[in-house]
């Protein structure tokens, strides 16, 4: 059975004795054939030794394959050196996609902005310096007013520098498909501004060798003022405008229907998409393809009831639709019991998961009682007869991992999470918890609760998403728009609704007006 790839370092099968494995197989075979648990006992699960995980955290092809294929297809043995399993193929293709083809495209826009910013910062200094360098002798001497202007210029430039660093010099977190309209607008504005100032300067000051130095300094100061105002405009357009909420986005994941609602302000579609993806990575539970399928035993029962034969030589196309309609009608009329099986199967699975969870919790609690934090002050008093060896967290983690390993693995298999947690990652997490004095419950939180996608992500490569939209992606959000964010095997569908207009009325209640009476119903006999 080619479930093992050529990189496996530690196979589950080999950790148990032959007798227990045989016993398990025999017990599994006694179960009814309709359950697909028959083969599950034989499947080998790989706990990876140190090395990269077998599959990418976000998109696994783990249990998609038909569970019975080991019996019905010819087996391809994975022992030849040149063979490459299915998982490797998907991993390689995903690697190719995830790395961006041109790394430099990501940095083009910030580089442009940086150059323009630098030029605009040096310009006032250049305006001041050039006359001094070129025609110093003929300049009018300029006393106190100039010095005042120098000081104000210096401080304004400092403020400009600091705020540019604070606001704009950040590594971009997303590569958008189209131009970011506001940013382009602002860059164009700055460029136009600085160019026109240089033009004026060149024509009116450099050519005729203007001698009024105070005027030149005033001119440079006005340029810095204008740059500060442009920066204010940039702040409002890029950072502030979209803070006031105006739309509610409903984000639904297509594969399992998990949905969230978010409030955003006035954004373009691509900016809204980036924002939604930021929230997706920390809000949505991780996509686990193994949890999606109904057991095949339930679904296939419906289809196998009728066989329709083609008698005579009528028109073929007519007959096929008639055929399928007849089959559907017959299937609908038949009493359909598959919901029953689904219900019982669900109950059974849940019971199994709960049982394994109980075993896991007990095993972990017991394991944690084996170690204790070593107090340094008692070093002198510890008797030489019992030299307890002092371990560092890593060794302590490895020491207590052994008793809980089996229970942990069975639980992960029951909840189909085994592809997200390798043995190495479990030991790392254990070490982390021991170092920070966490209780067993805190250690188990990571495995009992399905976490957001961010928890299982390695940050080495960027994520490739495709924005699918019927309108140009630089259009701003409007009511009723729908766009999709697609990845390889699932997508997020985003619907836009505007937030309602709120009419707030006012009502004043006098605190003295809170009075009460008893509800009477008396009966008097006369």
């Amino acid at each position: 059975m080619d479930n093992e790839s050529t990189y496996s370092g530690y196979s589950y099968k080999s950790s148990h004795s032959r007798s227990s494995r045989k016993h398990r197989e025999r017990r599994d075979r006694h179960r009814s054939k309709s359950r697909d648990g028959t083969i599950r006992g034989d499947k080998s699960v790989i706990i990876q030794a140190p090395g990269e995980p077998l599959l990418d955290a976000e998109s696994t092809r783990g249990d998609d394959r038909d569970d019975n294929w080991g019996e019905t297809t010819t087996v391809v043995t994975g022992t030849s050196v040149d063979s490459i399993s299915n998982e490797d193929l998907t991993r390689i293709s995903k690697d190719l996609e995830d790395s961006s083809p041109l790394e430099c495209r990501r940095y083009l826009s910030p580089a442009l902005g940086a150059i323009l910013g630098l030029i605009s910062l040096i310009t006032p200094l250049a305006f001041l310096a050039l006359p001094q360098l070129l025609w110093r002798e003929t300049l009018d001497p300029c006393g106190t007013p100039c010095e005042g202007l120098y000081i104000s210029l210096a401080f304004k430039l400092l403020i400009l520098l600091i705020s540019t660093w604070a606001l704009f010099l950040r590594p971009p977190r997303a590569a958008l498909p189209r131009f970011f309209v506001f940013r382009c607008l602002l860059l164009a504005l700055v460029f136009l501004f600085v160019a026109s100032y240089w033009l004026f300067y060149g024509v009116r000051v450099l050519e005729p060798r203007e001698t009024d130095y105070r005027g030149i300094v005033g001119y440079a100061a006005s340029l810095v003022d204008a740059l500060l105002f442009i920066q204010y405009l940039a702040l409002v357009l890029l950072e502030v405008r979209h803070l006031q909420p105006a739309f509610c986005l409903k984000v639904v994941r297509t594969t399992d229907g998990i949905s969230r609602f978010y409030n955003v302000g006035h954004l373009s579609i691509q900016r809204a998409a980036v924002w939604v993806l930021d929230q997706y990575y920390s809000d949505f539970p991780v996509y686990n393809p193994a949890l999606l399928n109904l057991p095949k035993s339930i679904l296939t029962k419906k289809m196998s009831a009728f066989k329709v034969y083609n008698l005579g030589d009528e028109n073929n196309t007519n007959n096929s639709t008639g055929q399928s309609r007849a089959m559907i009608a017959a299937a609908a009329r038949r009493r359909d019991n598959s919901h029953n099986e689904y219900y019982y199967e669900e109950a059974e699975v849940e019971r199994r998961v709960r049982k394994r969870k109980a075993r896991l919790v007990v095993a972990v609690e017991e394991a944690f009682t084996h170690i204790k934090r070593h107090q340094d002050e008692n070093a002198a008093t510890s008797s030489p007869k019992h030299p307890r060896e002092v371990m560092d967290p890593r060794e302590a983690a490895q020491a207590i991992f052994a008793p809980m390993a089996r229970a942990m693995q069975k639980y992960l298999r029951a909840t189909r999470q085994q592809s997200y947690h390798t043995m190495e990652s479990i030991i790392n997490h254990l070490q982390f918890c021991i170092t920070h004095n966490m209780t067993p419950k805190a250690f188990l939180e990571r495995y009992l609760i399905v976490g957001p996608t961010l928890q299982y992500l390695d940050n080495s490569k960027g994520r490739q998403w495709t924005l699918v939209s019927e309108e140009p992606v630089t259009a701003s959000l409007r009511q009723g728009q729908v766009f999709c964010l697609r990845r390889l095997d699932f997508s997020l569908v985003v619907t836009v609704t505007p937030l309602p207009f709120l009419r707030l009325g006012e009502e004043f209640i006098d605190p003295k007006s809170h009075k009460f009476v008893m509800k009477l119903q008396s009966e008097t006999s006369v």
């Binding site: 009477l520 008396s522 009966e523 006999s525 006369v526």
Partner: protein
């Protein structure tokens, strides 16, 4: 038996004359009343309109003067000896019924079955 505020109330009434019975020091009539403008009309089991704050007969002692005279449980008392009972407090109603110097009380009472009977027999309200 609902009414429009501000408009005169019309109802089909029955005239009942009750002779008070002397029992020891008291003159009794043999029934109990409930309701009144100071009471909670929602708890009245006999009224059709749960905002009706009129005086209703809630209990009748069997064999008493009221029973003999033909008063029935659930009747709404409209007048007592000419005094209006549709807009009185509970205590005022009690006082009007238990005046010591009166031997006889003449009540005008209304009930649903009266209206039905009139409708059946005449096909509508009798015109004045």
């Amino acid at each position: 038996m609902s009414f429009v505020p501000g408009q005169p109330v019309t109802a089909v009434v029955q005239r009942i004359e009750i002779q008070k019975l002397r029992q020891g020091n008291n003159l009794i009539l043999g029934f109990s009343i409930g309701g009144g403008i100071d009471q909670d009309p929602g708890q009245n089991p006999f009224s059709e309109d749960k905002t009706d704050k009129g005086i209703y007969v809630t209990r009748i002692t069997s064999g008493g003067p009221a029973d003999v005279a033909g008063l029935m449980m659930g009747d709404k008392i409209m007048q007592v000896n000419g005094w209006d009972m549709t807009m009185v407090t509970h205590d005022k109603a009690r006082k009007r019924l238990t005046k010591k110097n009166e031997d006889v009380v003449r009540l005008l009472v209304t009930r649903k079955s009266l209206e039905e009977a009139v409708k059946h027999s005449m096909g509508g309200y009798p015109r004045p």
